[in-house]
Amino acid sequence: MPAGHFQKKSSGTKQEVPTTAMPDIVFMLLIFFMVTTVLREVTLKVDFTLPRAENIEKIEQKRLVSYIYIGPKKLKGGERGSTSIQIDDAIVEDMQAIRRIMYDKLQQQPKLIVSLRVDDDSEFGVVTDVQQELREAGTLRINYSTRQEN
């Protein structure tokens, strides 16, 4: 068959994708990520590796969670010091202070969940002490933070 019959007519208009809507789409994505981002990352002063467990549950409402970090204190030069407790950005020296801090947090957020992020080489004694303080403060919902076992 002769191909000459099917010559295409090239139109005079330019074949370009309209890009005027692109900033709108980008802004929409941007706003989504701005809303979902939680920027409240604390600087960790203690070192910990979370233990692994199989039967874990997810905490969906991240806003309810308050963290307590327990592990060896980070020293200069990558050394590990004695076991310390960190709440928010500061190391708590006095056990009694935990009660006060957690009580204040509970007043602000009555559905507070305390997530304990404890180094897996710690001894349980210090966790017991923290738990006793939490009981006194009234923050009874706790969560031992663990990672999924592979």
Binding site: V26, L30, A53, E54, I56, I59, D121
Partner: protein, 183 residues
């Protein structure tokens, strides 16, 4: 006066250039993409008992309804004072909770069964978590079994109403014993 200060406007170039807007938005977008952490927190949930009231006596619990698990300082797990491998904990808890009055040494009913966990101050945290994981696993299996029998679905796939029904059948009663003083 007023007419003198008035600027001569040109017809072209009176608009703000809009093409850079997309670039700026992209830059911000990439920043937030990088800064976002979508990792969901996972862990083992537990509800602590309220602080003990010295004026009130603890309610009497029949010995058969209490499964005592002790994790000692060497990281050994003892169920009712006999050493148990950590892999056996799950089976033991299932037997204990799901006894339903058959064995006189084990629980009356799943509603009455209480798993009591006790630790030493020197207990390694890792062992404690492993043990708690096993106990949670036992309850999860029991609930899954019950929900398969009742609704033909896994416990996780149930809606809230049927889920609470299963929860009533197998309430998770895990008690953290008062820690020993000293040592």
């Amino acid at each position: 006066m007023f007419k003198d200060t008035k600027k001569n406007r040109r017809d072209e170039g009176g608009e703000i250039e809009g093409s850079a807007l997309a670039d700026i938005a992209f830059l911000l977008l990439i920043f937030f993409l990088v800064a976002t952490t979508i990792d969901i927190d996972t862990g083992i949930g537990l509800v602590l008992p309220p602080p003990p009231d010295p004026s009130q006596k603890p309610p009497p619990i029949k010995d058969r309804n209490l499964l005592k698990i002790l994790v000692n300082q060497q990281g050994m797990v003892l169920i009712e004072d006999e050493p148990t491998a950590i892999t056996e904990v799950k089976q033991r808890v299932i037997e204990f909770v799901n006894n339903k009055g058959q064995d006189p040494k084990l629980s009356d009913s799943p509603q009455k069964a209480i798993v009591s966990i006790k630790t030493d101050r020197q207990t390694p945290y890792k062992v404690y978590i492993n043990m708690l994981d096993e106990v949670k696993g036992a309850y999860r299996e029991l609930r899954n079994r019950a929900s398969m029998a009742e609704f033909g679905k896994k416990y996780e796939a149930l809606n809230d109403q049927s889920r609470s029904k299963i929860q009533d059948m197998y309430p998770q009663k895990i008690s953290i014993a008062e820690p020993d003083q000293g040592s």
